[in-house]
């Protein structure tokens, strides 16, 4: 039953264990599949869709789809890169992203993904311009959901690791956003050393640690030097730069 099996990603043979997702197997084999909502240590969610691949011709999210023996998986084809660009552009346009003045610039996974996919200019989509109040009530933490990509990493970290469930999705559709357990962050029991607040958790610049802003000069941050990929990517080596 538990014999490892093989499948292919873009023609490269990958070994997988039963029950592994395409993403897990690819990670172990050192093949990078782009991702935003998935990160090490949290249950996969399958919401950003940036990890879309084709498994035997069917589009699936690599982070949630089990690997299948003998399957042919397409990862970096022109078609899929096109989808990924569209998805990343959608996220840019859904929120307010002014990188030059953003605390997360250079360590932001969305920005890094944009670079990786070659998105450097304003794109074809309209801007939705949310104008949500910034929550700076907490002594140590600022929450600015205007840049939120709804990846749910803070929600899962707080629920599953911190066991606090401080964050949760509120609303639906385009009005969906991240809410906190109370009228503002200061009313919650969130703490600076929670996993939800760890710099590796929020892939963008929504959750900001007060007093730690701009801790590494722009130009010397993680993705300034190396493009986003395995080991430099989500949740790995983050916060140590």
């Amino acid at each position: 039953m538990n014999k490892p099996f093989k499948f292919e990603i873009d023609g490269i043979e990958i070994e997988a264990q039963r029950g592994q997702s395409i993403m897990q197997a690819a990670d172990e084999a050192g093949v990078y599949i782009p991702r935003l909502c998935d990160t090490e240590g949290l249950e996969p969610q399958g919401s950003c869709r940036v990890c879309v691949v084709k498994q035997n011709g069917r589009a699936v999210s690599a982070c949630t789809q089990p690997a299948i023996e003998g399957a042919k998986v397409e990862n970096e084809t022109e078609e899929i890169l096109g989808y990924r660009r569209d998805l990343v552009r959608m996220l840019y346009h859904e929120g307010n992203h002014l990188c030059p003045i953003c605390e997360a610039s250079g360590r932001c996974e969305l920005q890094a993904m944009g670079y990786r996919l070659g998105i450097t200019q304003a794109t074809k989509y309209p801007y939705l311009q949310p104008a949500r109040p910034v929550d700076a009530s907490h002594p140590d933490i600022v929450l600015d959901t205007n840049r939120c990509i709804l990846c749910g990493r803070c929600i899962r970290a707080s629920r599953d690791i911190d066991k606090k469930h401080v964050f949760e999705y509120v609303g639906r559709g385009i009005n969906k956003r991240v809410g906190v357990n109370g009228n503002k962050l200061a009313e919650t029991d969130v703490k600076l050393n929670d996993r939800a607040i760890d710099l590796a958790t929020c892939p963008v610049g929504c959750i900001i640690q007060k007093g730690r802003g701009f801790f590494a000069p722009i130009g010397e941050r993680q993705f300034d030097k190396k493009p986003i990929t395995l080991g430099v990517g989500p949740g790995k080596n983050r916060g140590k730069s």
Binding site: R49, L128, I149
Partner: protein, 606 residues
């Protein structure tokens, strides 16, 4: 307030998975679920307030602010709109002195619009608390408002009750069945419990074989072979299994489940009971859309009568050890909860978001147990198959689509209503029956289906050609195709659960571009933009809603190219068609005020 909330929670044993029921009761008793109430519920269930808020804010029928004693919801699907629904809404606005989406200062009334009530065969319609009003006219609305102001209870607004069980004392609705054609499987007279009796004499394996022989496919739209589904659930090792009936009927233009729930409730429950016996289940759920809550007391009475007759509950049909009972789960205004895994989330007291698949519900569904989710009509067919045999059922319809199908026909035709016909009939045949000589376009399968043109009326309604869960909307030459497309996109933007990027964001962009096309501000390149964006949404979305939401655009580009051609400008003169100076100024004005079309609720009034 505290004691009321505590006692409601206790009634559900402080069970977090029953949060939907708790919220439905709190909403009804307190007319809203304010932060203090969420706090109390959270404390009682041992969860955080934001978890409760996550659920409350997901469903349209829950509100975080206190609503009026009487909530009026005017139906806004495209058929109702064409039938004058917008004017009806305006009369309510005038009569009650209330803007849409607001509550009167005295706390008496709230006025809202709702995407689809399931009454497009008797449009325009509205819902007053749980009472449905149909065929509204300006005079009727004025009268209704006058009576409500005098203190008439909503249910006493019903003067003439409808046909059949619509006049049953537990329903008393002015809804009509509009059964225009009864076929040989479902709407003909059916003997009580004949299928169940026959099934209980056979072994589950034989029943699975019978079902497979019948060729029955799911009636909810996706057309999955029912026998295969039941077998998968039966074959999954588990300590419990669940049978769920999908009575969410949210696809605009469908109302055949409403008619089955009214006239064939026994047959449907019989089918669920057979499913339980076949796969080995002891508990079932009927997920009834909130819009049909007027049917709930009646359905409860049918369940109770069946318990008393020994065809539900313990030792069913005298069969020792075969126990099966059913509860009704009311929905709260979310189209996505018709998607089977979202429906399960909702039954579990969660936000009505689809689940990641695999695992599929037949492997791990409600509370992690193997679960069969089938449509109302599917269970009705299954009961008839057990009575008459799979071969009999397979003698109706086509190769891959066996049996008869209920079609809900509405729009520009003389005889809207429900038609039971074998799968495989042509659109033209159906149009003749509904008397629609002016039909110029037909939307098959609801907004998520396909819009076809006159030259395609010979196409057949079946899985092999034009699949449909039953919705058939007829549009005459007078209708504006792009208005319809725009309206359908509005529906999807409104009803997207927001879980995944392409559906949540992409549909907004699709809608914005169609609005621009309608204003004549687009060029040929915009067609490519629409197709490309539509493809990304369809391919990368996580569930059926996103897979099909671009269909209104993609199918009309294919089938009505001229509609686009007349609106798309060519370059030629060197001036960009899409540059509209007024709009550009307008845009910067908006920017300066930092207002946002999507996020600012009062944007239109500004």
């Amino acid at each position: 307030m505290e004691s009321r909330i505590v006692s409601i929670c206790r009634r559900y044993a402080d069970d977090r998975t029953r949060l939907m029921d708790i919220l439905l009761e709190v909403q009804r008793e307190l007319r809203g679920i304010e932060p203090a109430a969420m706090e109390l519920i959270a404390r009682q269930l041992g969860i955080t307030r934001v978890e409760v808020e996550g659920v409350v804010s997901f469903y349209a029928f829950f509100s975080r602010r206190t609503k009026g004693e009487i909530i009026i919801r005017v139906c806004d699907d495209i058929i109702d709109r064409h039938a004058g629904g917008r004017e009806i809404a305006k009369v309510f606005v005038e009569e009650l002195g209330l803007a849409i989406g607001t509550t009167s200062a005295d706390g008496r009334f709230s006025l809202e619009i709702t995407p689809f009530l399931g009454m497009s065969d008797q449009a325009p319609s509205a819902m007053v608390n749980e009472t449905i009003l149909t065929r509204l006219t300006v005079q009727k609305v004025r009268l209704v408002c006058a009576r409500l102001r005098e203190g008439t209870e909503p249910r006493d607004l019903v003067v003439h009750t409808g046909d059949g069980n619509n006049s049953h004392p537990l329903i008393r609705a002015e809804v009509n069945n509009n059964i225009r054609l009864a076929g040989e499987v479902l709407l003909c007279p059916v003997p009580a419990n004949a299928g169940l009796r026959s099934a209980l004499q056979r072994r589950p394996q034989e029943l699975l074989a019978e079902l497979e022989e019948s060729g029955l496919t799911g009636r909810g739209g996706a057309g999955f072979p029912t026998g295969k589904k039941w077998r998968a659930a039966a074959d999954t090792a588990a300590t419990r299994r669940f049978i769920i009936c999908n009575a969410d009927e949210g696809e605009p233009g469908t109302f055949k489940d409403r008619v089955l729930l009214t006239e064939r409730a026994d047959l449907m429950i019989e089918g669920m009971t057979i499913a339980a016996y076949t796969v080995g289940s002891d508990a079932g759920i009927i997920y009834l859309r909130g819009e049909y809550s007027y049917l709930r007391p009646y359905l409860e009475s049918v369940l109770q009568a069946r318990r008393e007759h020994g065809v539900l509950g313990k030792n069913i049909g005298g069969k020792q050890g075969f126990d099966f009972d059913i509860r009704i789960q009311l929905g709260a205004g979310a189209y996505i909860c018709g998607e089977e895994s979202a429906l399960i989330s909702s039954c579990e007291g969660l936000r009505g978001e689809p689940k990641n698949r695999p695992p599929f519900p037949v492997e791990s569904g409600y509370l992690g147990f193997p679960t069969v989710v089938d449509n109302v009509e599917t269970y009705c067919c299954a009961a008839r198959i057990m009575e008459q045999g799979g071969a009999w059922f397979g003698s109706f319809g086509t190769d891959r689509s066996s049996g008869t199908k209920l079609f809900s026909v509405s729009g520009d035709c003389a005889r809207p209503g429900v038609y039971e016909l074998p799968f495989g009939i042509t659109v033209r045949d159906l149009l003749d029956r509904v008397d629609a000589p002016d039909a110029a376009a037909v939307q098959v399968g609801g907004p998520s289906g396909e819009m076809i043109n006159m030259s395609q009326f010979e196409r057949r309604l079946c899985l092999e050609d034009l699949p449909t869960g039953g919705s058939v909307m007829v549009f005459s030459q007078r209708r504006n195709i792009l208005e319809i497309v725009d309206h359908f996109l509005e529906f999807f933007v409104e009803e997207s659960c927001g879980y995944c990027t392409p559906c949540r964001v992409g549909n907004v962009f699709l809608k914005k571009r169609i609005e621009k096309v309608r204003k004549g501000l687009c060029e040929l390149e915009d067609l490519a933009y629409l197709k490309e964006l539509g493809k990304t949404i369809a391919v990368t979305s996580r569930c059926g809603l996103g897979h099909t939401s671009p269909n209104p655009v993609l199918s009309t580009i294919r089938n009505f190219p001229l509609v686009y051609a007349v609106l798309l400008k060519e370059h030629g003169d060197g001036v960009q068609a899409s540059f509209d100076i007024q709009a550009a100024l307008e845009e910067s004005r908006r920017l300066a005020k930092r207002r946002s079309m999507i996020y600012d609720p009062n944007y239109d009034e500004a």
